[in-house]
Amino acid sequence: MQEILSRVKAAFIGLAVGDALGAPVEFLTAHEIKAKYGRLEEIVGGGWLRLKAGQVTDDTEMSLCVARAIVAAGGWDLQGIAGRFAAWLKTKPIDVGDTCRKGIRNYMLKGELETPFNQWDAGNGAVMRLLPVALFTMGDDALLEKYAVAQAHLTHNHPLSDAACVYFGRLVHLAVLGFSKARMRRELEGLITEYPNFRFDPYRGLSTGYVVDTMQTVFHYFFKARDFEECLVGTVNQGGDADTTGAIAGALAGAYYGMENIPKRWIRKMDRKVMEDVVTLAERLITMSPTGMKG
């Protein structure tokens, strides 16, 4: 259980670190990043959001909303998650995705907990905040699937986004429980069979906010890299939706490699309060999960 505890903390820290690392180069192409930074390997701030170094964006903040709602309720609470998204939106966050905004507004004004299917909903806004659901459902795949899709549908109702959420959750489960990369790679065969779009070798270098591009980038660098730093540096230097690819890759790599493998110099740069919160929440979530309950 100690191993598991360390990995879940690393997963949530990895999410925040990936967000802060990639955010300064969000929307730049790989070429532009190369011209500006050579290779981006440090948490530097700046970018289109003019961030302070170590500042996180909506990827981490929405994940915190999900985590806090579950912990506060002592269990699954979709209404609580929606309510926290709404409260967060009113604070004028540093950034909010268009599809997320529309879904949250839908809840604020109509109280609805599910947005209708939309062809444009195949963005990565639901999967980027999936980690807390994966931690909370550790040990129960059916529960993961049920809750992953339910929280996704608050803002994103599209089969590609649903599939990305479920499979990202499954990979996090496997990583935390100590399974090998080979086992994780086999798990993805299910996703690729159902939705061949997600095939990531050969990797085409697309890293936009389209959920297929995002997950291809995450899978490609996660399986290719030999450690946490290599995974994240590879991911964010691909550019595109770099804070989100960075956050998702960071969650997965954190879950797989554990706390020791996350560069200390990156953690030192991060917002103190965020670091404390993610650690506390990760711990609470795993304790509440089926795996945690078994003890």
Partner: protein, 112 residues
């Protein structure tokens, strides 16, 4: 979809923007305009000075919204922009047949 056009007193802009933000609305296009009203030749306070000219500086907001949001948006603007004194302005609702987000090509209420 509708295009909501609101003519309001300039000092009310921030307050109206904040009130719209509270209901999840962030996208607005604003222009500076001159207003001529039924109440001609009145003096209005604008940036600490009294205007006795027949036009008054106003601010025009254009907000494209999905149909189901229209009454909420109109209500929000009206409650916030109102002072009860002459010159508070108007809200116009214009049909919007199509909207496109230039960056992505999205259409319809996904675009706004």
């Amino acid at each position: 979809m509708k295009l909501i056009e609101a003519i309001i007193k300039p000092f009310k802009l921030d307050e109206v923007k904040d009130a719209l933000n509270e209901i999840g609305i962030e996208g607005i296009t604003v222009s500076e305009v001159k207003g001529f009203g039924r109440q001609k030749g009145h003096t209005e306070l604008y940036r600490g000075a009294e205007y006795v000219v027949d036009f008054i500086p106003k601010v025009k907001l254009e907000i494209a919204v999905a149909d189901e949001l229209v009454s909420k948006v109109v209500e929000t603007i009206q409650n916030t922009a109102k002072t009860g004194r002459i010159g508070d302005g108007k809200i116009f609702i214009i049909p919007l047949e199509e909207a496109v987000r230039i960056r992505t090509g999205e259409k319809g209420s996904e675009a706004i």
